[in-house]
Symmetry: C2
Subunit: 288 residues, 2 copies
């Protein structure tokens, strides 16, 4: 059991990600005092699962005296809370978030949070399609990459080192990048796959007729390729709002790739497309 990196942690948003962070903290750092804030019903569930020690009545009450403030909310909601956090956070607090886009929240944090309070943008590249504390698990971060936004201004703040060690204890691998690179990269490897799953699900639903076809011939392929379609709208609304240009560009690239495939359906060039697909499959499964 490692020594607790942060003695008091406030988790704002105790759904899938915040709840899993709470359960993982509980498992690896049982000494840590965890205060949660969310809707009353969610908080009650988090308490009954022993994910949190205290349910706070407001973000202000949650962050008071916390050494670590962990914002696990849809990104626009998280941004909206920054002024309140700025007013009530302890001077030595490290504030970090989990949102799927980083440019908007890093910019907002610069505008609202003043030293010595420190903001570190974060994004666990992990998750499940089903949201909510009922799907939270201490193992969510195990083996996952965890993007962290490096800013020159931070220098070598020891709180950042402590947080990275904490992530390591939870089984996550920190990957440093700047906010712009993060948002561009995630548009391709996360936001595009999500929107493809949503679009494909829409096509299959639209095409299904009163006979039940083609759904009644659905096999594992379409089930897998639409699993992400169960993802919650509120999270993705915020991601689409805060990464619109990168996402639009990735959708354009995808439309081009589909058009290219359409042109090669009866041509030898189709082999090149499959060769590229085979190669990416291998790359994604190489030992790191």
């Amino acid at each position: 059991m490692a020594e607790a990196a942060f003695s008091r942690v406030a988790i704002l948003g105790t759904g899938l990600v915040g709840g899993s962070f709470a359960l993982a903290l509980r498992k690896h750092f049982p000494e840590t005092r965890i205060v949660g804030w969310d809707r009353a019903q969610v908080l009650e569930r988090a308490k009954s699962l022993a994910a949190i020690d205290e349910a706070a009545a407001s973000p202000a009450a949650a962050v008071r005296d916390a050494e670590l403030v962990y914002l696990a909310l849809p990104v626009v909601r998280a941004i909206d809370l920054l002024p309140e956090i700025a007013r009530h956070a302890a001077p030595q607090a490290l504030v970090t978030d989990t949102a799927g886009t980083k440019v908007a929240i890093v910019r907002a944090a610069e505008a609202h949070l003043r030293p010595p309070v420190l903001f570190l943008g974060g994004h666990p590249v992990a998750g499940k399609e089903l949201a909510g504390i009922e799907h939270a698990a201490a193992e969510l971060f195990q083996g996952a990459r965890y993007a962290l936004v490096r800013r020159e201004a931070d220098g070598e703040d020891e709180r950042v080192g402590r947080f990275v060690r904490l992530l390591g204890a939870l089984g996550a691998e920190a990957v440093w990048c700047d906010a712009e690179t993060h948002d561009w990269a995630m548009a391709i490897v996360s936001h595009l796959p999500q929107l493809i799953a949503t679009a494909l699900a829409g096509v299959v639903l639209d095409e299904t007729d009163e006979t039940g076809m083609p759904l009644s011939l659905a096999g594992p392929a379409v089930q897998e390729m639409t699993r992400l379609a169960a993802s919650p709208y509120d999270t993705w609304r915020d991601i689409c709002l805060t990464n619109t240009e990168n996402i639009a560009r990735s959708l354009d690239r995808m439309a081009q790739a589909l058009e290219q495939l359409r042109r090669t359906l009866r041509s030898r060039d189709l082999e090149k497309e499959f060769a590229a697909g085979n190669e990416l499959y291998r790359l994604l499964r190489q030992p790191r």
Copy 2:
């Protein structure tokens, strides 16, 4: 242990699907004599795995005296073998196939196979992205739907009943449809997901630069959404050649759906798209 439905079975193509059929027969009907035909190296592997009893030197030698001829090859290859099968099959043979498209092979079978030899178009909606006998498993058909093409001309041939009972013993559920409906439906729930995975893999590969981004931030979502990209070219070349129009249409529908999403990135209408995606997710997971 059920009584063997067919005492002698010829499997032409002992890769993933043919090899799995052999292993499943072996498990559920150990009395059945199984003759295989494929490339020498594949046959050797099939024999060493005890999937087949005999390795035949030619399709003609394999089908001789077989009560059931199981064609598990890419569809154009299977069609090319029909004249040879017609010349050598036993009069009472049931010939069936496993190809992902049905119109072309049913038409070719009508042209080549003459009564009393009977052709039954089949397609197990199961599989893995990795081809070859080394990935074959007796459980491949367990819980899978197995499309069968009903033709009025067949009447109530008892061989068909025997084959359906065999499939049931292997854990598969027969779904009857006509060839045109099958190919239209599969273009949407199988061929489109495959080509989307291939296209997405191509986009991710193209976008990856010398820094390793965005691949180094790849998480479970993109890994899952490109798993099918490992599928073998030769199978899909034949599917694209024999279902071109349906596939082109499904690609068009997908392009429209992506364009629609692109337009709603900053609009409340995005919620409708996610609601449809959530609904399809539920439909695909309803108990049958």
